[in-house]
Every structure is written in structure tokens, then in C-alpha cells.
């Protein structure tokens, strides 16, 4: 018996009576020397040992008391013996058996597991014992600190919030979201990922028939100021005309339209993209070439974009905020424009507020200010950079401007209903009364208000020209807050709709005071608090009526920017169009709640992904594997997916090796592109020798390719894969993708696309051989594509096959039993090449069995074999987003495929079935037929 068992037994038998007897054997004395009490008895016995285990003390006492004078017939001795026995028996029956848990006293059928931590589940008679035990067992309770009431007091709450904002930035709607959403910490912000309630379909319905609201304030705004030509000259290095309109596009430059552009590292055009940005020019002031430009970028682009902008504009001189001790003289800049200086003041003020709190713990000090804007930035971090040579000033306006996005055809009705153009008022020190004095400005305001009223008469937001900008000044929307949630409905009027629909807002109406940082600050500082507003309301004579003289502070400059919906493709055009609402900081919640009261749905990050997916547009970090941010995102995603995979018990994990899926969690784009280049090269060589049918050539090429692949990758310098963004090439490729029948043919004729022949293909490949192209795949029959589904080339037989799709033969998992493998190592090598199924060329024989031990089962070890030739169908690329599309009623996927592979496939397909590909989910063996769409 092990020591533990002995101990357990001892504990269990602690209260049980042991035999009371006297033994004379000396062996016994030694063995139980500890527990025995030697006692000499002269009367009859030589030596008697009394053994006792537990009730040692009292037995000893009894024995010693009894034996010396015990007379066999003495009634008293007999009585004491009886009595002591009764006592031991009583102890044995009343005391619980050894286990320290109280419910050991209960019969087995009455024991419940939950009793061990909830004493109330025990029968009453055992409860207090259990309670005593539990309290003695429980560790010291951690001190709670303040009471709930103290914690919830406004000042303390604010301090707590400010402390929590130090690490991750909070949007202004954070508290609102945190009550309703699953929050995630991403990109340095706390963002709402998805609501806690079910809303997948209702959000989709909102996007397609009413309105969905999102808080996009986490997008970073970078402001550039300077002479127009100099700005354009600098920025032109970042973009190329080949990839679509640039910063200099005429409509955007006038300030009438918001533009969007893909930014590259300076002068690196086809290589090293940074990501997509949108930009907005401030309309020209009369007779001035000084311009202002806002570049809105995703927070993951910013760390790359900002240094790039600084180098391009030669703005390396950081203008320190005025709060810092050493102020760089800014006379040149201040003469030019006074913006950067006042722009700093509110922030420095708010930061000094925190400082003050930390240094002096003074009770009389008013409680800390609410953090507006960026709470994580230290006060000394420069946010403005200027150039001494060309006078360009770059400032980082992150978190300075609130941006809300309304998606859906009725978003204009929501806006119109929520906001009212500002009313006139008497002059005072606030900005709006000052504004009112200026006649021309008031004229402008009147015109803007007219345009805004025209919005009411529009059927759908999608009717407006995409990217329309409208500046406006509105009253505080809290004043017109309805008492109940009402759904904003359109009221269509015919009047001057046509004008607005064709041209958008007139050029001069795009001006807004939001561009002026001084006005922004004024508005932010002078905002009436909710408390004061409610107080004013409570003093109204008729409860619930509107505050009759609008408070002077309640005028807010805003910018409305139209967001285009689905621009590509034939079906569902302009789906998901909407408006972006730009507000000065601090006014976020004042606009958010009134918008919510107009019956909009609120979406989180997942919904913006679904929006772009339904729109058929690339979503930023997901679909840009060639950008640094996209690459980073892929790594994170891989780690996340692997973590989730490992959380399953091994028997419940998918064996991706058996499914023939090499990379279920990350997509080796680089390897894919390289392999396809190699395949085509080899194919080309062979073709020159004799023109065989393509499929067999390809398969042979793959066989040959796979083995020397390692050497190739080693010798070749790692050239980065890029995504094809050249509009002309894309248009060409898009034409080739369509089948020659029906609608496609008409389109092609009209476009005048070259026919797809060998020469054109070679030309195209010489330019973009190593690139990927972004395609939309719509399934022709059943199936729901998932993340990282494989896009494959159908064979000639697959194209003939109607209904369903082909099946992948199951693969064999060579890593399943590494020990057996190691034993049979040499034998298997020989066997492998011959009896391996046809689907599995010998190239897939694993090279590194040792590395597989570190990885979990069912995943390929790190040096992946040839990705293209791993399955029975040649692989083209992977899906980056896939789901059942509610808009088309079929599975739809967005993915990236190799240009070389796609062209080769298209070339080999019969003209009427051109553009048909196969799609297979990572955990499935079934191929689904899909149609490839490449829309420009």
C-alpha cells in the first residue's frame, strides 16, 4: 500500500473502534511501539500491551485506572469497561467517516457535486458544519475597495474610465457600445465587434432596405496643408494613374467628391503597396492656392503611411505641442496659417488635467475632465510636422473628427429627419453668431440648407453621384430627439431632384466650417452638457415641447460625404450606398443617440466585413496580403485560427492532411505565384518541343517542378507578390474571364477587348506574371464557401459533368504515426512512389518528419510541398472571404488567384465554358463549381 493510501485509510478509520486486547507477542511490541502503552500487571499476566489507535488517551487512562485494581468480579470495573465501550461506539456511529467533506456523512445517493461549493444544497442538519468548514478553507477574500455606490459616482466613474482609456483608445460611443456589443481590442482601440443580440439578417435587411449605422471614428485622418502644386507633386509619388484616379482627379480636387486611391511607397508603384485610403480636398478659397487635404486611412496603415508622407513632403521637422517646455519657433508657419497652434490647445489642456490629478491629490480640485480624442497619446508627442523647404504641414488628426457611417438606401431620410439646418441668432462670442454676421457665409449656409432639404425628395441614397460632399451647419440634434424610437421614412418629392442626382451638391456647397480647427475647438469646448440641457428642458412650461430659443451653443458644423455602394458588376448596382457623417470631436454621443432613435440598426466590425463582401469590394486588412498591414493581419489570423484549432480535443479536429488541404490557416501567396510561374515556364518549353494537350503537360510539369522547388526558392531573391491593380490590365483580364455567349459577348464587343490568344497571354504574363488578382466567385449550385477555401482548375471531364461537383479522393496522413514511420522509414520510401494513389504525386512525400512532431496532428509541417499540385485538381488560389450571400441567394466568395494560373486556365478552357472554376472548402472533399467574375 502506498503511503497516500495508508494515510487515507488512517483518516477513514480514525473514529472507528479498534479491538481492545492484550497481546504478549514481542513481535507486536516492536511493530507497534509507537502506539502501544506498556503496562505491567502483576496479578496474572507478565506483560500486557494494550493497543489502541485513535482513542489512545482515554483508553490508556481507562486501562491504567482499571487494571491495577481490577478484580474480575468487580462490578465497577465491568461497568467502566462497558461505559468506555459505549463511548467508543458512540463516537464511531455519530462521527462521520474520515473524509473531511461534510457530505461524506450522506449516503451516496444523496450526494451531489454541487454541494461541494454551495452549502445550501446540503440538508439542514449538515449545513452549519459545512459552512464552518468552508469558511475555514476559503482563502482570504480580496479587499473590495470602494462600495458600489462610491464606484458609480460620477467623478469616480470618470476617473476609472480615464484610467482604462490609457491603454486602448475609446471611441466616444464606447460606453454605448460596451453595453450592447462584444468588444475587441484591435489596432489600439476598443471596438465593437458584433452585437450581443441576434442581428445577422436584420442587419442585412437594414443595409438593403433601410439604414445601418457604424462608428468609424477609429479611422485615422491625416491633414495636409500647403500649396496645391507642391502637394500634388509630392503625393503623385505615392500613386499611379494606372491604378485609377489619383489625388489629382479633377472632381476630387475641386472638393466636390471624395476620392479613394491605393497608396504605394514612394516611387515603387507596382510593388510595395500600403493600402487603400480615401481623401477629401477642401474646396478652393477665392484667389488662394493654399489647399487643405484630409487623408482617411485605416489605423493599420497609419504607421506606414505617416512616415511615407513625411518623406515625400520633406516634412521632418516636428512641431512640438505648445505644452512642451521647448517650443520650436514657428514664426514661418504661424505667418502662413495659424492652424497648428490652436489645434493643440484642447488636447494639452486635457492632458494637463490628468497630470494635475496625479500630482496634487486635492479634494477641492474639480473632478477630472472627460477625455475627448486620443487618451493614449502623451502630451509631448508631436502631431504636426512642417517642411522648411516647401511649406507643407502634415498634422495627425486622429480622433479629432468623429466619423459615422450610415449604410443603406434610406440613410438620407435618417439624416434629414435627425438634423435641421442651423437657425439664425444674435451675435455673441461663439462661432456661429460671428458666422452669422458675414453675409456671404449666410448665403452659403442658405444654399447648403436648400440642398439638404432636397435630399428629402430622393428615393434612395444610391441615386446620388458617388462621393458627393455636402457641408452643413446643423442645430443640436438632441433638441429634436423624439420621445419614442421612430423609423425614419422617406417622403419623395419630384421638384429639383434631377439636378441633385446628376451633379451632386454644387461646388460651393462643399465648404464647411469643420475644416477650421479653431471652429472645431470652439464647438467642442462650448458644447452644452446633457445635464444642463435636461435641466433647461425641465423648466419648460409645456413638458416635452421643444426648447424655443435654441441655445446659442447648439450649432455644429458637419460634413456629409456620400459613400458609393456596389460599383462593379451588373446585379445589385449601388447596393450598400450610404452617407458618412463627419463631426467635430465631443459631439459623438449627441448625434449618435438621435440617429439611433430614428430606427437604424447598429453594426460592428463583422458587419462592415459583410458589407464589403456583399458589395463585392475588398475589405482592407483581409484582402490585401501584399500590404504590410495585410501581411500582419494574416499572421494574426493564422495564430488565432491555430489557437482555436488546438482548443478542440485531438479527436475532434479536422485532419487537414486527409482532406488534402495544405494551408488551412494561412495562404502562402508567394509560393503559389512562384510555382505558377515555374509551371508556365516549363509548359512553354515543352510546348515548343511538341504540342501536347495542356492538361497532361501541366501535370508533368508539376511533377518535375515539385522536386527542385526548394533550390529555386533558395537561389531566387524573395520578390514580393503583388495584387494586380492596373485598371487597363484588369479590364482586359475581366473581358477574358467572361464566356463568349450571351451577355458577356455583347459586353466584350462594346469594350473592344483583344481575343485571348497565345501572344496576348505571353504579353500579359510578362508584365504581371508574378501577381495575384482579386476575383469574385459565385457558386453555380449548392455550397457555402468558407475562409481559405481552395480555388482549383477543373479538368475537361469536370466541365462536362453537370450537377454537383467532382470529389477529391481522400489523402493519406503520413504523419499519423511518426514512430511507426521512423521504424519503417526506408521501406516506406520505396513503397511510397508506386502504390500511392494517383491523386497524390510522389512529390508530396513528406520531407521533414521531425518537424511534424511539434505541430498538432492533422496539419502539414512547415516546409510545405508544392501547393498547386497537391490535390487532384491544380490549385489557383484561396478564398479570403466566403459566405452565403443573402443578396444573390447563393454562396459567394472573394478570393485571390494567381494571374498566371488564371490566364492559363482560361486559355485552355473552351470558349463557351470560360471562367468556370472549382471551389473546395478546407474541411471538405467536395469540389463545387463556381463562376469567376472579375469586375473592374
Amino acid at each position: 500500500m502506498s503511503a497516500a493510501k495508508v494515510k487515507m485509510r488512517e483518516k477513514k478509520m480514525r473514529n472507528q473502534p479498534s479491538s481492545v486486547q492484550y497481546s504478549a507477542s514481542p513481535r507486536h511490541v516492536e511493530s507497534s511501539a509507537k502506539h502501544t502503552h506498556t503496562h505491567t500487571h502483576a496479578h496474572q499476566f507478565r506483560t500486557l500491551q494494550m493497543q489502541c489507535r485513535s482513542d489512545y488517551g482515554h483508553l490508556k487512562f481507562r486501562a491504567s485506572a482499571l487494571l491495577p485494581r481490577s478484580h474480575p468480579s468487580s462490578a465497577g470495573a465491568f461497568a467502566t469497561a462497558r461505559a468506555s465501550e459505549v463511548r467508543t461506539m458512540l463516537k464511531a456511529t455519530t462521527k462521520t467517516t474520515g473524509s473531511c467533506h461534510v457530505f461524506g456523512a450522506l449516503p451516496k445517493h444523496m450526494r451531489r457535486r454541487a454541494m461541494s461549493h454551495n452549502t445550501k444544497r446540503l440538508p439542514c442538519r449538515l449545513r452549519d458544519v459545512a459552512n464552518r468548514m468552508a469558511s475555514s478553507k476559503k482563502k482570504k477574500e480580496e479587499s473590495k475597495g470602494k462600495s458600489r455606490k462610491a464606484r458609480r459616482q460620477h467623478g469616480n466613474l470618470l476617473l476609472e474610465f480615464n484610467r482604462r482609456q490609457r491603454k486602448n483608445k475609446w471611441l466616444e460611443t464606447h460606453i454605448w457600445h460596451a453595453k450592447r456589443f462584444h468588444m475587441v481590442k484591435k489596432w489600439g482601440y476598443c471596438l465593437g465587434d458584433r452585437p450581443t443580440y441576434k442581428c445577422y439578417r436584420s442587419s442585412y435587411r437594414a443595409m438593403s432596405s433601410h439604414c445601418l449605422l457604424q462608428d468609424l471614428s477609429y479611422y485615422c485622418c491625416i491633414e495636409l496643408q500647403g500649396e496645391e502644386e507642391k502637394l500634388l507633386a509630392s503625393l503623385s509619388q505615392l500613386t499611379s494613374k494606372e491604378a485609377g484616379p489619383t489625388f489629382a482627379a479633377a472632381l476630387s480636387l475641386s472638393g466636390q467628391r471624395q476620392g479613394s486611391v491605393d497608396v504605394y511607397r514612394a516611387g515603387q508603384y507596382p510593388m510595395q503597396p500600403l493600402g487603400p485610403v480615401t481623401f477629401l480636398w477642401r474646396p478652393r478659397a477665392q484667389g488662394s492656392t493654399h489647399r487643405q487635404l484630409w487623408i482617411w486611412a485605416h489605423p493599420t496603415i497609419k504607421p506606414d503611411l505617416l512616415p511615407e508622407l513625411q518623406t515625400v513632403c520633406q516634412c521632418c521637422e516636428a512641431v512640438l505641442p505648445p505644452a512642451a517646455p521647448a517650443v520650436i519657433p514657428t514664426e514661418g508657419v504661424s505667418a502662413l496659417e495659424p492652424e497648428p497652434k490652436p489645434e493643440k490647445t484642447p488636447e494639452s489642456k486635457q492632458i494637463t488635467g490628468t497630470k494635475r490629478k496625479q500630482t496634487f491629490k486635492d479634494a477641492s480640485e474639480p473632478s477630472e475632465k472627460k477625455i475627448l480624442g486620443d487618451g493614449t497619446r502623451s502630451p509631448t508627442t508631436p502631431v504636426t510636422w512642417k517642411s522648411s523647404s516647401n511649406g507643407i504641414v502634415i498634422s495627425d488628426l486622429t480622433m479629432e473628427i468623429v466619423r459615422y457611417r450610415l449604410i443603406g438606401p434610406q440613410s438620407h431620410s435618417v439624416l434629414v429627419e435627425t438634423m435641421e439646418a442651423a437657425t439664425d441668432c444674435d451675435p455673441s462670442c461663439l462661432w456661429w453668431p460671428e458666422h452669422c454676421k458675414n453675409e456671404s457665409k449666410m448665403n452659403l449656409h442658405q444654399q447648403q440648407a436648400d440642398v439638404f432639404h432636397l435630399l428629402k425628395g430622393v428615393y434612395s441614397t444610391g441615386e446620388l453621384p458617388s462621393g458627393t460632399v455636402l457641408g452643413l451647419t446643423v442645430d443640436d440634434p438632441r433638441l429634436t430627439l423624439p420621445t419614442k424610437k421612430v423609423k425614419a421614412l422617406p417622403c419623395v418629392k419630384q421638384e429639383k431632384r434631377r439636378e441633385l442626382m446628376l451633379r451632386g451638391a454644387p461646388a460651393h456647397c462643399c465648404q464647411s466650417s469643420l475644416w477650421e480647427s479653431s471652429v472645431r475647438d470652439n464647438v467642442t469646448v462650448n458644447k452644452i452638457s446633457n445635464k444642463l440641457l435636461n435641466h433647461m428642458r425641465s423648466e419648460l412650461l409645456v413638458p416635452g415641447s421643444r426648447l424655443s430659443p435654441t441655445p446659442l451653443q447648439g450649432r455644429v458644423p458637419i460634413l456629409l460625404v456620400h459613400q458609393p455602394g456596389k460599383q462593379v458588376g451588373h446585379e445589385m448596382t449601388s447596393w450598400g450606398a450610404g452617407w458618412d457623417l463627419l463631426l467635430p470631436k465631443g459631439w459623438g454621443m449627441a448625434f449618435w443617440v438621435p440617429l439611433v432613435y430614428r430606427g437604424v440598426r447598429i453594426g460592428g466590425l463583422t458587419m462592415s466585413l459583410k458589407h464589403s463582401q456583399n458589395k463585392g469590394a475588398a475589405h482592407f486588412p483581409h484582402d490585401y496580403p501584399d500590404c504590410p498591414a495585410g501581411a500582419r493581419f494574416q499572421e494574426e489570423q493564422e495564430a488565432q485560427l491555430l489557437y482555436e484549432f488546438k482548443r478542440y480535443p485531438p479527436a475532434k479536429r479536422n485532419n487537414y492532411i486527409k482532406h488534402g488541404c495544405l494551408a488551412p490557416f494561412c495562404c502562402p501567396w508567394q509560393q503559389l505565384a512562384e510555382e505558377w510561374e515555374l509551371i508556365l515556364r516549363e509548359g512553354g518549353e515543352e510546348r515548343e518541343e511538341d504540342r501536347l494537350t495542356q492538361t497532361s503537360t501541366k501535370a508533368d510539369a508539376v511533377m518535375e517542378v515539385a522536386t527542385p522547388r526548394e533550390d529555386v526558392t533558395v537561389t531566387k531573391p524573395p520578390s514580393r507578390v503583388t495584387v494586380l491593380r492596373n485598371k487597363k490590365s484588369l479590364r482586359l483580364l475581366s473581358g477574358w474571364c467572361r464566356p463568349t455567349t450571351s451577355k458577356g459577348q455583347r459586353a466584350r464587343r462594346s469594350c473592344g477587348v483583344l481575343p485571348l490568344d497565345r501572344a496576348a497571354m505571353a504579353l500579359f504574363l510578362s508584365a504581371h506574371g508574378m501577381s495575384l488578382v482579386w476575383v469574385r466567385l459565385s457558386l453555380l449550385s449548392k455550397g457555402k464557401p468558407e475562409l481559405h477555401a481552395m480555388v482549383c482548375v477543373p479538368t475537361a471531364e469536370d466541365l462536362m459533368l453537370c450537377g454537383g461537383g467532382p470529389q477529391e479522393p481522400p489523402h493519406r496522413d503520413h504523419f499519423k504515426s511518426p514512430f511507426r514511420r521512423q521504424k519503417k522509414g526506408s521501406k516506406k520510401e520505396g513503397k511510397e512512389s508506386d502504390p500511392a494513389p494517383a491523386s497524390e504525386p510522389n512529390s508530396t512525400a513528406p520531407e521533414g518528419p521531425k518537424s511534424s512532431l511539434a505541430l498538432p496532428m492533422g496539419l502539414w509541417p512547415d516546409p510545405l510541398p508544392s501547393v498547386t499540385a497537391h490535390c487532384s485538381r491544380v490549385m489557383l488560389g484561396w478564398v479570403t472571404q466566403g459566405d452565403f450571400s443573402l443578396s444573390s441567394g447563393r454562396g459567394e466568395a472573394l478570393g485571390l488567384v494567381s494571374v498566371a494560373g488564371l490566364l492559363n486556365t482560361l486559355f485552355n478552357q473552351p470558349a463557351e465554358r470560360r471562367g468556370t472554376l472549382l471551389l473546395r472548402n478546407p474541411a471538405s472533399l467536395h469540389y463545387r463549381v463556381a463562376k469567376v467574375n472579375l469586375e473592374v
Binding site: S19, Q21, Y22, G76, T80
Partner: protein, 158 residues
């Protein structure tokens, strides 16, 4: 089954010589004598002497439930128990048959207290009477006793 038996001897002091192995041997011998090899085999399965009090002569015997009647029937044939080279003439008187030790213990408590109460009027002198009274008082776990024992158990736990 657990049998609660009482060992009755003429000379009370000889009781103190008993030990559990001797009792077990005596039972085995008696069973073998009355029921032969079959009985001896049955007796070797789950038979044991769970408890023996040499002062009072109380014995707990455990028999397999299947055949306890058969083994029980052999107990009256025990006339003496051989221990340490001496033969103690005695007989076993079965007081109680219980399913668990616990029931036997409970019965024993009742039985012993009953016995003490019976002894009380038969006392010959004052001293004896006082002793018996004291013993009776000791029989019950009074409140003080209880608290004491609980303290003990708690200190053991710690």
C-alpha cells in the same frame, strides 16, 4: 453480515487473554468440524474478526452474506478458545445480526446501556453503586464531551 457476539466465560479475568486471531481460529475450527471442507472453504472467503473487546468480551464477526446462516449454525459448537497455549472454556452468545458495522455498533450502545441500567439495582455496596452511576453518566456523549471531541477533530484537520 456482521454478527455481534458475546464471549461468555466463567472466570472473568481470563477474558483478558483473548485476542482476535484466537477467536478467528476457534470459529474456523468449529465450522470445519460441523460443516467439513465446504464450511472451511466458505469460512476462508470473507470471514474476519472486525472487533474484539477483551474487557467486555464483545466480538464482531464478519461473514459472507451468502452463507452466514450456515456459518452461524456452527457457532454454538465452540466450547473453548485456545490462546497462548491455554484453553479458555467459553461459549459464544449471538446478540445481534446486522447488515453493517454501524448497525451493530448502534445495537451495542443500546445493549450496553441496558446492561448498565440492569446492574444498578443489583449493586451490593455503595462504592459499586457510585461507580456504576458514574459509568452510566459517562455513557452518553454530553455537550461538554461533544465540544471536546469536535475540538480534537478540528485540531487534527489542521
Amino acid at each position: 453480515r456482521y454478527l455481534l457476539c458475546e464471549v461468555n466465560v466463567e472466570d472473568h479475568s481470563r477474558l483478558l487473554q483473548l485476542d482476535d486471531r484466537a477467536v478467528a481460529a476457534a470459529v474456523r475450527a468449529a465450522v470445519a468440524r460441523t460443516h467439513g471442507d465446504y464450511g472451511a472453504a466458505l469460512c476462508s472467503i470473507r470471514f474476519s474478526v472486525k472487533y474484539l473487546n477483551a474487557h467486555t468480551g464483545i466480538v464482531f464477526l464478519r461473514f459472507p452474506k451468502r452463507c452466514y446462516r450456515l456459518l452461524w449454525s456452527a457457532l454454538p459448537f465452540i466450547t473453548c478458545i485456545e490462546t497462548r497455549g491455554q484453553k479458555i472454556p467459553c461459549f459464544l452468545n449471538c446478540l445481534h445480526v446486522g447488515g453493517t458495522i454501524r448497525t451493530c455498533q448502534k445495537f451495542l450502545i443500546r445493549y450496553n446501556t441496558q446492561q448498565l441500567h440492569r446492574m444498578l439495582p443489583k449493586c451490593k455496596n455503595e462504592e459499586e453503586k457510585r461507580q456504576v452511576q458514574k459509568a452510566i453518566l459517562n455513557c452518553t456523549l454530553t455537550r461538554g464531551n461533544k465540544a471536546e471531541s469536535e475540538d480534537e477533530s478540528e485540531s487534527e484537520e489542521e
